[in-house]
């Protein structure tokens, strides 16, 4: 009966179902976009630069000093590996790079070429040229914005000046092997990457490392549990996970669920008005019929259920349409990405890089939440008209014109 009632005014039912379906479709795409955005952000944050965890000598993070080093990084990497982590040591220093008439301050990073690919994907994130090679100790890789500032391209030679740990002047001539894609704000603007051997030679740092970056081999181990495990394994070091290293980003991700729900509710509130209006019209047009039904002995509860069933049926059709169109669209953008290159060449959030091609991610929540909210909204929007029809006195309803 509810199904037939929907067919009474096909135009109105059509508009109502279309409005709900369109809102559902939009929300599925929006949630997939947000899920993809944050997944990409998390992947880039961890996968290109930070790693899941970082260890430093005590006090290094608050005062990054060339002399505050992890004494035996090889032993740390070995222990980490035994505890289920991939780890790679890094060295940091600062200097001035000059090319032609231009110069810029740079952040030097000495990279453990064997272990870094086990922790991050930075070695595969070269936009032009190629990654570092031990066989080419004078070959360096620079950040995207630094290359633009100095006008560098692969093959160019530049001068680097710094101060070595023994107080002497460190300077040398390097050749650009590669220019990185967007990695993160600091690396993009000042990244000057070389092999750890070359770094040690240039800045006279024969031992130690400033940072050991790590990732879990078993991703099922919770991040906090793994952090506790690493802290216990390395009591003399400061261990932080990526959420502690990038608290703003972590907070944003934690709040994603809440903010997405709010956006859905705001978007759906407009649709709710349409549903409420349609249901009210539907009820008022048929008030006499409800009077007849009540006169024949249909209970108020059944009248309420009939109207609710009509609304839920509309929501069902709308959900099928929304999911039927939204899921393939989201999957398309998950596979091929949405190219925003025309709007921006690079994006970053809280210093973390994002590729301008956004890849959606159709998660169960991205598909289920808009549909769940649609049904919830329909139930709420139907409450008043359904109650009104349920409680009206039969004689009033029968005389309704």
């Amino acid at each position: 009966m509810a199904l037939r009632n929907l067919g009474r005014n096909k135009t109105r039912t059509g508009i109502t179902v279309f409005s709900m379906a369109f809102a559902g479709f939009t929300m599925i795409l929006y949630m997939s976009l947000v899920a993809g955005f944050f997944q990409t952000l998390e992947d880039n944050t961890i996968g290109l630069d930070l790693g899941e965890f970082q260890m430093h000598a005590k006090g290094y993070r608050s005062d990054p000093d060339l002399y505050k080093r992890i004494e035996d990084p090889a032993s740390v990497i070995r222990t980490a590996s035994e505890r289920g982590f991939n780890a790679s040591a890094r060295l940091y220093g600062y200097g001035l790079a000059a090319f032609g008439n231009s110069s810029a301050g740079v952040m030097l990073r000495g990279v453990d070429l064997e272990n870094e690919p086990k922790v991050t994907r930075i070695s595969g994130s070269v936009m032009e040229g190629s990654w570092l090679d031990r066989a080419d100790p004078k070959g360096v890789v620079v950040g995207k914005k630094l290359a633009r500032t100095l006008g560098l391209k692969p093959g160019d030679e530049l001068v680097l000046v710094s101060q070595a740990s023994d107080g002497s002047m460190a300077n040398d001539l390097y050749k650009v092997r590669g220019v990185l894609k967007t990695v993160g704000e600091v690396v993009d603007q000042a990244g000057f990457l070389m092999s750890d051997d070359e770094f040690r030679r240039l800045l006279v740092v024969p031992t130690g490392a400033h940072e050991v970056a790590m990732t879990r081999r078993n991703k099922d181990v919770p991040l906090d549990a793994a952090t506790a495990e690493a802290s216990k394994a390395f009591p003399g070091l400061e261990v932080r996970n990526w959420k502690q290293l990038q608290p703003i980003l972590a907070r944003m991700m934690d709040m994603m669920g809440t903010s997405v729900k709010m956006v859905i509710m705001i978007a759906y509130s407009a649709v709710g008005m349409i549903i409420l209006n349609a249901m009210l019209m539907n009820v008022f047009e048929r008030i006499r019929e409800f009077g007849v039904m009540k006169a024949l002995g249909v209970s108020p509860a059944r009248i309420f259920l009939l109207i609710t069933a009509e609304a839920l049926l509309s929501a069902f059709f709308a959900s099928v349409a929304a999911a039927g169109l939204g899921a393939p669209a989201a999957l398309h953008y998950q596979r091929h990405g949405l190219d925003l290159e025309m709007l921006t060449t690079s994006m970053n959030v809280s210093g973390m890089a994002l590729d301008p091609t956004l890849h959606f991610r159709l998660t169960p929540a991205a598909l289920g939440m808009p549909i769940f909210f649609m049904f919830a909204l329909v139930v709420v929007a139907t409450l008043y008209p359904a109650m009104k029809a349920a409680v009206i006195r039969p004689v009033e309803a029968l005389h309704h014109q």
Partner: protein, 232 residues
């Protein structure tokens, strides 16, 4: 007392329209016995429909009490009143009041469906009663595909099919031609005689009053006369 189908004691009904009070029934007391074939008559505005609405538990009186089969209607809640209307009363409305999206068959079986009668039994009883009211072969038509007389027959089938204790018919012949009206009255008389169903009509149609065995006349909301016109 056991023979009372309906009993009214000092029943009155006042409608309020803003600050204006319009008395529709004043101090009406009467009894309708089981198996009666009675008509409530009177000019327009005399309170006929109001009386039927009150007896049918579609409305509540402003004063007085109504008993149906010994049950005080004022003591029952909405759900209990719904059950009384569903199980004990059959309604026939002047405007037929069929449900537009249901076929003749579905309209006729509607009350049985909400009573929870099994589908097979519903089918048999509905088929039989539609045949009895002369609608065999038209079961699949929707109300807008039936004439006024045919719609009224469906409404009577709907009212009768559950075997109610009383049928309340509000101007059942008002929109019908003479032939159809006579045929429907024949049918209702037969149901009354065969099954002992109590009939109470509101009418000012002489054809109905001619058939009624008791005529209750109302004037300005008051009981004007109450006479037995024919003996069973």
């Amino acid at each position: 007392m056991d023979e009372d189908m309906i009993r009214l004691e000092s029943v009155s009904k006042v409608y309020r329209e803003g600050r204006i009070e319009v008395p529709a029934l004043s101090d009406v007391s009467l009894k309708i016995n089981k198996g009666e074939f009675a008509a409530v008559s009177g000019p327009s505005g005399s309170g006929k429909t109001t009386l039927l609405n009150l007896i049918g538990a579609l409305d509540v009186p402003t004063g007085g009490k109504i008993w149906l089969e010994g049950k005080d209607l004022s003591a029952l809640d909405r759900t209990a009143l719904s059950q009384i209307r569903r199980d004990r009363i059959g309604f026939v409305f002047q405007a037929y009041n069929l449900i537009a999206v249901l076929t003749a068959f579905e309209n006729a079986e509607f009350v049985m469906a909400i009573q929870g009668v099994p589908a097979a039994e519903r089918r048999d009883r509905t088929t039989a009663i539609l045949r009895d009211v002369g609608l065999g072969g038209l079961e699949g038509r929707r109300p807008d595909e039936l004439s006024g007389g045919q719609q009224q027959r469906v409404a009577i089938a709907r009212a009768m099919v559950t075997g109610p204790a009383v049928v309340l018919a509000d101007e059942p012949t008002a929109n019908l031609d003479s032939h159809t009206a006579d045929s429907l009255l024949d049918m209702m008389e037969e149901l009354n005689r065969k099954r002992g169903v109590t009939f109470l009509f509101s009418t000012h149609d002489p054809r109905v009053m001619e058939r009624a065995r008791r005529i209750i006349r109302l004037r300005d909301g008051r009981l004007d006369s109450d006479e037995i016109t024919k003996q069973d």
